[in-house]
Symmetry: C2
Subunit: 348 residues, 2 copies
């Protein structure tokens, strides 16, 4: 990637859990930047953040903050994206939006570069970054679909609190301390900040992420179902999800059952395909107790896959365990990766 | 239950996590006891435990410890059961064994009273208590099978450390403290005491419970598969399991996908059947954020079921979330419940 050509990059939501990882990822990747703008709500404006060793003052986002911006990374909540994305596009920026605001819009590509990078060519200013739990699953499913076909997916997730932001991370820490020291505590953030009731997350499992829909599924589960079909261009794919929040700071895990179209396939066939697939690290050696775990995935950009085994009853059925850092491949890294793809495809 | 007739009851493994709950459960249920014996390894012998306000000294188990015993509750590990169960039976005791030693023996009934109490009539001295994660699932599945038929089950578990004993509980506590205080720690117990490698459990998810089999499934997963078929008398039932250990002290949760035989069934139909089923508490009101969680299930004998919803693609497919105290319905309570059934059926 040429450093000689540089872009004006803006990060909206710079002080949040994902925003912080976006900034770190831009630094790590040596992203070609001629100017950086850190934007936030009025509440966080004035915060001083480091970027490549220099102090950068976070500014309150206004429509004019996007004057001259080439690439804007958004991660400040869906309602904020709805306000500022059209303004940024009007001013010539390409918006890579990490909220659910535009993901299912027909005009907005929903992109995981390992799966559907070419969809970027259809963008009209806004590109959506999928939900964290969706991204890591489709990275693992796409090479399988390509090689053997895919007809059905049933996933149960094991999700970390950082997917709910810094307030949720803090709540897990403080609640854990309180329980260990036998002190009282009052849940105030999880499972969903804006919902009516809040429950203990430390040493507990909460089967609710995001609000409930009328069909009994949560919005997180519906996101996984709909986004998977859109990203993989498979409206006919059968997908079901159960999403669960756990006392883990960072790193989502997924127990994925899937059915291929190929008959007589073995687990080894799946392992071979995934061992050379982009963005995937195969960690699958049961006799040596090698399998992915969130504690090992934190800070890494890869999707880790293991526990691949053939179903004992369904010839076309398989199980696997998929783990990734929800703040990186699930959010910040996938967004920056989209920006890199835009450059590589000559779209920016 | 008549208190006038009393039994000589022995608890083998009295100082363990399950043994302690067995003792508490015998007290709570006012089980008709004329004499109680607490037995253990030489290491724990001499410990003084309370029973109904009286001190009871734990004795080292020997074959002759079972002289005169009517009902022996075993929970001291499979190899110990293999040594002492035949000795106890030889001396006239009925053994209710909470290890995996005899569960798949054709001659040994594997019993969850809500599901197959009548199998107790076939016992030849030993009755096996199923695996904790199996018990709570079959309690929820059996009323569904009875009403609508059942053809397929895919379960992903969210299991607490107490299923691995007191050393695992201690490890979770100490590791959590170390991480919170930024101190070093060395995993020594989980995921499997007797396996080669040990991994962090605090703030992590470990997709291994018990050792791996040649087919890539863990023994815990194979137990869930085989025991479910045996208890439900359904050798043809398709069952698959993925078992995961989590940083939760007590309370197992399960994300269960299942297919019924009845066409056109609604989630309401499943809820109606479960709302009046033995041993089950229905907690299923998404609009009020009512669903089961392990933190609420601890100390209770029931199996809690919620998040019941119809699959969006499969007419016969449904999802549910099943939670129970793994030390109670998953172990101690189911064992004492079997003993109560033996009395009620006139088998002891």
């Amino acid at each position: 990637m040429s450093i000689s050509k540089g872009y004006h990059v803006a990060v909206l939501g710079a002080t949040g859990a994902v925003g912080q990882q976006m900034i770190k990822t831009l630094e790590k990747r040596e992203f070609p930047i001629k100017k950086i703008s850190f934007l936030s709500s009025a509440r966080s404006a004035g915060t001083v953040l480091k970027f490549r060793g220099e102090d950068v003052v976070v500014e309150e986002a206004t429509p004019d903050s996007f004057n001259g911006v080439d690439i804007a990374l958004f991660s400040a909540g869906g309602s904020i994206s709805k306000i500022f994305a059209p303004e940024a596009v009007k001013r010539g920026a390409i918006v890579i939006d990490n909220t659910s605001a535009y993901r299912m819009d027909e005009d907005v590509p929903l992109v995981v570069p390992e799966v559907n990078e070419q969809d970027l060519k259809l963008h009209k200013g806004i590109i959506a970054n999928p939900n964290c739990s969706t991204i890591q699953m489709v990275v693992a499913l796409e090479p399988i679909r390509k090689a053997f076909g895919l007809s059905k997916v049933i996933v149960s997730t094991y999700q970390a609190v950082s997917g709910s932001g810094t307030a949720a991370i803090q709540e897990l820490h403080e609640q854990t301390k309180a329980i260990i020291h036998g002190e009282p505590f009052e849940p105030q953030v999880l499972p969903v900040k804006g919902d009516k009731k809040h429950y203990q997350i430390a040493f507990n499992a909460v089967p609710q992420i995001d609000k409930f829909m009328d069909n009994g599924f949560t919005f997180e589960e519906v996101k996984m179902i709909n986004e998977t079909k859109k990203i993989m261009h498979m409206p006919e794919l059968k997908v079901a999800a159960t999403c669960v929040r756990l006392p883990i700071e960072t790193g989502h895990s997924e127990s994925v059952y899937f059915e291929v179209e190929r008959e007589g396939l073995t687990a080894t066939g799946i392992q071979e395909v995934l061992s050379s697939a982009a963005g995937i690290v195969l960690e699958d050696n049961p006799s040596e107790q090698i399998y992915p775990m969130p504690a090992n995935a934190v800070g890494k950009n890869d999707v880790f896959v293991g526990r691949i085994r053939k179903d004992l009853d369904e010839d076309k059925g398989f199980h696997m365990w998929v783990v990734s850092d929800n703040l990186l491949k699930g959010a910040a890294w996938n967004s920056v990766q989209i920006a890199e793809s835009l450059i590589n495809l000559g779209l920016v």
